[in-house]
Amino acid sequence: MRDGDAVALEGFTHLIPFAAGHELVRQERRGLTLMRMTPDIIYDQMIGMRCGSRVVFSWGGNPGVGSLHRFRDAIENGWPVPVEIEEHSHADMAASYQAGASGLPFAVMRGYVGSDLPKFNKRIQPITCPFTGEVLTATPALNPDVTIIHAQKADRKGNVAIFGIVGIQKEAALAAKKVIVTVEEIVEDLNAPVNACILPAWVISSISVVPGGAHPSYAHGYYKRDNLFCKAWDGISRDREQFRAWMKRHVLETKDFSEYRRSIESEMKVGHA
């Protein structure tokens, strides 16, 4: 990863790559374009720690809880640094990753009928069907420099299996120049059904084993979503200084994700996988 890269940390409320996001915070990456359909707590943390200068997204809340306070503060007040936003709908972003994975310059969809979003995002444009004359909507392909995902398991060759809600991970991975994967475990045999969602080893740049690496989101078959943490985040993130102190104590001053987990578990008594 380099400063200024366009990076997608994907996972649609499931398998969110928190451990990798925290490592980007520790490495003090700056000026990133942060792509993600649902920025969620992970981008709230990265934006509040000055990693991002641009956010490409389609729904920016803390699911089931409320606002992402750091994301909002950056948009509304430019704190700690201003972030530019490029805003889409879910159907659009999903299609744009698909276009990126397909080697196409843009995605076509029936979208945004009557919506104000195209007035503020020039990357949403009308396009006429050459066969029927119908006017549809085009949006440019998303091609991250790096896509980072968390998955349940990899085998020793480096083939990766994702199951449960598979979200947009496959498309985001295949649209990217580099793919970094964190997994719960390495296994001898993936034991995957023939039609399972598998990313073969040869499309992946690197794999790290990080058990619990999606916490506080969940890993289907391994641990549940830590709803108490997601709710507690609302309070932690509301105040700038409290947020910074929390990130310093638990992320910047821990050496890795397992130390981070011990640090928050001893303090918050939440998040037992």
Binding site: S58, G66, G167
Partner: protein
């Protein structure tokens, strides 16, 4: 006035649930729509097909999901597909009978705002944004919207149209058009509004028991039209109320008493 034995949020959810017919395919937003849709499924509409944008088709969660992608949805679904597939084949492909949405603000044509309060460039309040709503609103065969009614939420002019209800120029002069009928019903804690089939303006067609028409007018930011044959919502039955309360208490227990956001 005597205590009715239920609260405004409960009759809103029950009134919304009653409008979902057994066997229909419903694309569900999180929060109030999800509560109403699941209440319908566990009461009068056991064959209601719930689709969540996380890719779960035919989800039958025992508790209300806190996020749109909770594991319960995947474990109870008939099929779990990717996010591009859910939007392309299932929604855009025309397989959804009813889209069921919440909103921060709504206008008289059922246009909704979930993006900003104030200007887009310098918002007073930045809301979460579009999510799946713009395409749900126009690709589902019809749309129902559920939200609490007040002058703050029912406004003459939206700060931002995230998802459209009625679009005067859409579908004309080569502009993209909607595929479905748009919002047909808006259910609130005070009553039910239906959209006029001709000019598309919302008309109050039912009030909940104990609610006065003036109360609904006072909670609406435009001169609200009232149907000639205004009905009163039947109070929730014991069965509806106990199913709803059991659902909420199971949900609270499962999520560690985190309330499901409304």
């Amino acid at each position: 006035m005597p205590e009715p034995g239920y609260n405004p949020a409960e009759i809103m959810t029950v009134a919304a649930a009653r409008r979902l017919k057994n066997g229909t395919v419903c694309f569900v937003g999180i929060g109030l729509p999800s509560a109403a849709a699941n209440l319908a499924r566990i009461t009068h509409a056991p064959e209601l097909v719930l689709i969540y944008e996380s890719g779960t088709i035919g989800a039958k969660p025992d508790v209300l999901p806190l996020s749109i992608g909770d594991g319960d949805l995947a474990e109870t679904a008939d099929a779990v597909v990717s996010v591009p597939e859910i939007f392309r084949y299932w929604l855009q492909g025309g397989r959804v009978d009813i889209g069921f949405l919440g909103a921060a603000q709504i206008d008289k044509f059922g246009n909704i705002n979930t993006t900003v309060i104030g200007s887009y460039e310098k918002p007073k309040v930045r809301l979460p944004g579009a999510g799946g709503a713009p395409e749900i609103a126009t690709a589902a065969k019809e749309v129902a919207i559920i939200l609490k009614q007040s002058k703050r939420t029912f406004v003459e002019k939206l700060d931002f149209v995230t998802s459209s209800g009625y679009y005067p120029n859409a579908g004309r002069n080569g502009r993209p058009g909607p595929r479905g009928r748009g919002p047909t019903t808006v259910i609130t804690d005070l009553g039910v509004m239906r959209s006029d089939p001709v000019n598309r303006e919302l008309i109050l067609t039912a009030i909940h028991p104990g609610t006065a028409v003036d109360q609904v007018r006072d909670a609406t930011g435009w001169p609200l039209k009232i149907a000639g044959n205004l009905e009163t919502t039947s109070p929730p039955t014991d069965a509806e109320l106990s199913a709803l309360r059991d659902l909420h208490s199971r949900t609270a227990a499962a999520h560690g008493n985190v309330s499901v956001a409304e």
